[in-house]
Amino acid sequence: MLALLIIPGIFLVILPLLPDNWLKPAFVAMAFSDLLLALFVLAPGESIDVAWWPQLGLNFALGVSRYNQPLLWLNGLVLLSSALATKAGKAWSPLSKGSIFWLSTAYLGVSLAFLSQNLLLYFVGFEMAVLPFFLLVRKDGGENRRQAAFYFLGFSAVAGMMLLAAVLSLVVRHVTGFYSNHSVPVGLQFVVYLLLLATWAIKTPLWPFHLWLPQTHGEASTPASMYLSGVALKVAPYGFLLFSHILPIASHRASPTLAMWGGITLLAGSLLALGQRDLKQTVAQSSIASMGYVMIALSLGTPAGDQAAVLVMVGHGLASPLLFWIAGEVEKVQGSRQLDDLPGLYRKDPFLVTFLSVAAFAYMGIPGLALFPGEFGVILVAFRHMPATLYLIGPGILVMAATWLRVLARARFGGRDQDSAISRLSFGRQGTGSGLWLTVPLLWVGLFPEWWIHLWHWGGLR
């Protein structure tokens, strides 16, 4: 388990010494070895606890649980595909030492946050996962990167402060671990819960605290966007899951409100996605909708709800980086990300359009693709515990379908028969590795969710 953190740590140390043409292979190798480690070495129940700063209650307490194992696998996989998407010399796929350094730092932070069993350590991981993206956007972003980076930093800083305040008010009551036996006084529970709610609302994000997200994605480079939406976005909902254990009364009380809020986020996110004229923004706003599903499921606080939430996170963690990668490729092929420039794309790059169709169908919630099992689980638990949210989920599904049909109606159609025949050359297009590394698991999770659930020890298959 420690190796999962040590490998990127070593990579960060030797990165400045690497010659330029080794950068990508080394980055890919690091990501790949970490993915292998995550897949084959992690075992649920494993844990480490070393005192670091006992007076502050900061322990180096790490553990693998049923819920963070899938997320750690996802983490390695998304990093690998982001690493494969980096290209030298291309405006939107930077390959500089700095970018790789900060992306790896974020990766380390995300792993730390996922593994952490200690409140303060989670905070450290959270900040490590969040702040590098400010630099990534500020450094490699597009034209409006200054404004976007400001938005990101502004929102994240507020979220981070709230989180720190919440963690510290728990720590002074000697609640330092997520699984400690200290019970928190009811009054404090509510205060802490409200502080945390602000953090999660911003970082998950919940509508209307999502303003930084489209900004950031609009300007960020392809690998940064892929990683940010694929995994870094999951740190907050995972934190919500962890903190709910130590704040049971407050969580229970807030559950109906929060479920409705998740539903509103879902619907608002879908509608915002429908309103975009830009492919990458469409993807970014769709993520908000998926996070709405996660929030509905988590707010209910049932085991089935938690599992459904993790499943949605996994599905979304596969589909959204895939779409960000596609958006990056589309911009390369077509020279623009605007939806109105998409018609006829299938003639230029049929392979890419196939990827796009698969990912779009995943977002539409078609069975057999990775988002369906989770979303179905969310609908199940919502039906049982909070049927009112279905009034928001149902239209949300429709709007999401409309959003992606709108994209497909452009990318898959158009052009003229007289145009030059589809170029056969592009069938063996270069650089599909990144897409395949996400599409294959997308299908695999979608077709055989039970198999994965078995691997994660959630019960199920015997």
């Binding site: 915002l272 309103g275 049932t302 196939t354 078609i366 057999g368 709007v399 049909l405 969710p449």
Partner: protein
Amino acid sequence: MLLFVVFTPLIAGTLGALSFARIKSGILARIMTGLSVAVLGGSMMTALGPSQQLHWTFLQLSSYKLPLVLATGTLPGWMAILTALVNTLAQVYSLGYFAQDSRQGYFQAVLLAFTGSMLLTVFGLNLFTQFVGWEFMGIGSYLLVGYFRTQDSARYAASKAMMVTRIGDVFFLLAVAFSVMHGQNLIAQVNNHGAGIIAWALVVAVAAKSAQGPNLSWLLDAMAGPTPASALIHAATMVAAGPYLLIRYFPLLSHTPGVLLALVVLGGLSAVAAGVGAVGSQEAKRLLAFSTVSQLGMMVLAIGLGYPQVAWTLLVAHAFYKALLFFMAGIASHRAQSGLLVRMKGTLGSFEFGALFMVGALGVMGLPPTGGFLAKEALFHISQGSLPHIVLDFVLSFVGGAYTARLIKPLASKSPGPLAPVGKWMQIPAVVLSFLVLLNFVWHPWVSLPVMPLANAWPSLLLIGLGAMTGFLWNKPFRLFSGGLFWVLWRFLQGAQRSVAWLDNSLFEGVWDIRLVAAKMTTVVHWGGSGLARRYVLISFAALAILLIWNIHP
């Protein structure tokens, strides 16, 4: 064998569609046709062989279990044979229809995968399994209807088909969730203990998928797809899945108050409205699409009247003659290079017209010696005793005769010159189907129909004749159901989207304004803290003045 029948078409079709760039199109098309024949054989063996059941868990979250269950049975067996048969014929037809097309292989692969999804729904033994097939069918229809990618009509029709059926899918999804929540993971459990909400949700789902009621217009636009795909969609998959589902869940529907009446109203109104619409259409395929909606309405009506076996008889009869008519209309419009009825004058030879087309036309009208006649008479039989139902049947016979006559009229005329030959691939399926339509007169799979004296059939025959005469004389085209509701839905979505975007933008501006205010305040501080002595003096004096005034005040 069950495994083979369901998953071969799904997997092979999907792989074929994905790898079509690597395999030569013609070869792929032949492979797909061969597999279709194998699937047809397989489904026959499944239907005749011992009963089988396959069961595995798709997903288990805590205590919620979501199993995929497939099982053979009498009704699924017949339906599978029907589906596989129409699919095979459509594949054979495509060999001729798309002989010149570079994407023939892709088309036939998607067609096969589409059939596989229907088979999944057919053999599914619980709502979830059927839902999966239902959704795959949605994707398949999207790809098939949107086959002609350069045409705007195809693009619009495909998106619309997907969007409208998606509305039904949401309701289906809710029905699945509700049944899973209560642990009802088999059709029998749902039928015995299912709640009313499942029945109602299924009715909405079927109305969307089978183009009933306000959803009718997607099927009309879906005519932008290629003819073999239309034949398959209309005859034995997709839209036929709706009545099939209702038949399977008939016990549930019948013990939920209000549902059967709703089905009568929904089916009856759709049948009449679509029949009238068919009389006014100018294109052969559009007329046939209207007629499909009308006939599906009759099936729904029969279920609503409490006789699923009549609906089934009509479903089988309809599958044969509708596929036949599509194939013949395809040949005619292939020769005419147009789908307009007026252009299709005299495009069929005497054998094609007399032995193939007319058999199908008789079936649609409900005249002997076809299966259609028996099905329609059965519908009459079950409506006995209720005046509104009898009147409804009379109206349906009348409009059925009228629109079929509209279709027959141009094709009946003799061709002025020799006809362009069509390949044997395009004729074989029609010959087979024509035979089946006639055979269906004496042979009905699965159900035994009530015995009726033929003499009692005279009112309906009379009305069909009257309708046909009217149809021959009617020349004025009119448009009905051009899909205004879809437009309204789309506008509504756009409106909602715009208001959320406006809200979003205002929030965004608001946050930016906070930054601007902060910046302004910084400027003020900078102005004061500039280090210039005269500003300090000014500020000090101002502060002193304020202090003095404050203290002078009593």
